[in-house]
Amino acid sequence: MSAAQYARLVPKKYRSRTLPKIDRPWRPRVIAWAGPAAFYPNRFYEIDKWYKARIDKPEKLPEMHIIDPADHMKSLNELMKKPEIEPINIGFKKREEKVKAEKSEQDRAELERKSRHMQLRIDIDLLSVENLSVYRHFQVFDHLFGDNVFFENVQRLEVNYSDNVIHNGNILTASSTVTRPEVTIESVGNGKGFNTLFMVNLDGNGFEEKKNNGEMVQWVVSNIPDGESIEKGTEVIDYLQPLPFYGTGYHRVAFVLFRHSQPVDLKLDGSTLENRIHSISELYKSHENLLTPSAIRFFQTSYDNSVKTKLHSLGLKSPLYDYEYRPALKPDQREFPEKPQPFDLYLDMYRDSKEVEKEILEKRLSEIKLDNVEEPKWIDPDYVENKKKLPAWLHAKILERKGVGHGKYHNDVQ
């Protein structure tokens, strides 16, 4: 307020000696700065204390699920399908099937009679089984030669460990693969050309030095002359039984046959276990001009005692692996959950698992002696009493015999 205004408003008699200090109107200024909502009493939302003149909050929209109008008639399966890329054939052209033999009239009558009496059984050994979809299903080509690559089986390759014939993915025990298999290779070049056989464990690379850098090569025999037995070839890497380590599950072991016209020097070193790790795709890349894959077979093995004895004989310890689960899903913890939750189960979810184990152990040590860790014969002898007296959650804890309740009596004391 200016002095002139003060003088105009206040008679001389009542004027003070000095001009009184009067606040300048600050509300309109704040309104000009922060907008008209600055001083509205807001009854409906929580007032933000941290900001006196509040500017409109940024609008937060949930992420929208966008429906492409071009796609909305498609089914879920169609939408989820990955675009197909045509795979590349790195091998030979597919063999032509033999021409169908015509059946004679007599044969037809016989077949008719048999099939009418449901006695017709076709000879399964005569069928040619070359379905590559199994190899694709097991991702054998992907992990051997890289993505989106395949080749046809054009040469018959028979591998058998005494009675166990290798097909495509059948399961063998590790103990049956201790000695080298019998291999018969079909002659396709009339005595010209050579074959090279690889035996590769696709999942067996467990060495720190060559981590994620290749596959375990179990056996390589190169330069087998066409039509000759496998002993005529040079054994580049001598046979080692596949070593699926304890707890790692089923390993795929593949036999790959390469065809080449000139003898090849592979220069592979297989003196130690680690030196047996080679990347097959890189190896194939370096000899691409010479080698062409012509046949493949594979089987699956898992751990048994023969693996341990083999590792011990090599002067190594057998590694033990344990499956690591993805941590189970649980909602984010809230200090005060909005929806009523069972307090014990809710708080248990966010407790440190080590602390829970510690508590189990302490409880056991307090209740029973170390040498007497047997589970009591009766789960709860005072059941009726406890049912009346104890809160339900506490009683349920006593009755629990699964999970942590099982661990109460059966965990190792270390």
């Binding site: 005060f336 307090f343 014990d344 809710y346 708080l347 966010y350 407790r351 959650w393 506490l394 349920a396």
Partner: protein, 158 residues
């Protein structure tokens, strides 16, 4: 002369159970859901009903049994038979109201021997601020006030 035993038995008959109506939500007398002020003591009295029905954990969380869990049990489904036995947590607003109905004595931390609730008196890995807007401790951790980042690193439980 009457013997003492007869006297007590007489008293007992006189104090025989009075027929109390079931205490539904409608039958709670009005004076019980207010903060009552005791004139003799000169300060507020804790609400006895809250003490009977609820339990406060040391971390400030109130829990209570599921109301109506015994009602018409036979006509309710399997999951309800299980879930109705839970002791449930309260929301933040309910906890605040219940705290106001208590006296400071009941808000203090309590430690009992062989407490079945002992594992649940502390919370783990909560990262909301420990101090409210007035600077009071929200979850109990006495004596030291430090910034949240440091405290979360070295004191994950509280």
């Amino acid at each position: 002369m009457l013997t003492k035993a007869v006297m007590t038995s007489l008293c007992a008959t006189r104090q025989a159970p009075v027929n109390v109506a079931a205490r539904g939500i409608a039958n709670i007398p009005a004076h019980e859901y207010h903060i009552r002020f005791d004139q003799r003591v000169g300060r507020k009295r804790p609400a006895q009903d809250v003490l009977d029905r609820f339990k406060r954990l040391n971390n400030g969380m109130w829990i209570h049994a599921h109301p109506g869990r015994h009602k018409l049990k036979y006509m309710k489904d399997e999951t309800w038979q299980k879930t109705s036995l839970y002791y449930e947590t309260c929301t933040k607003e309910q906890c605040e109201i219940l705290d106001k109905l208590m006296t400071p004595y009941w808000l203090r931390q309590k430690h009992y021997p062989n407490d079945p609730y002992s594992a649940y008196h502390v919370r783990h890995n909560i990262n909301s601020p420990r101090v409210d807007d007035r600077g009071n401790f929200v979850r109990e951790r006495k004596k030291i006030l430090m910034d949240d980042i440091t405290s979360q690193r070295f004191f994950p439980d509280c």
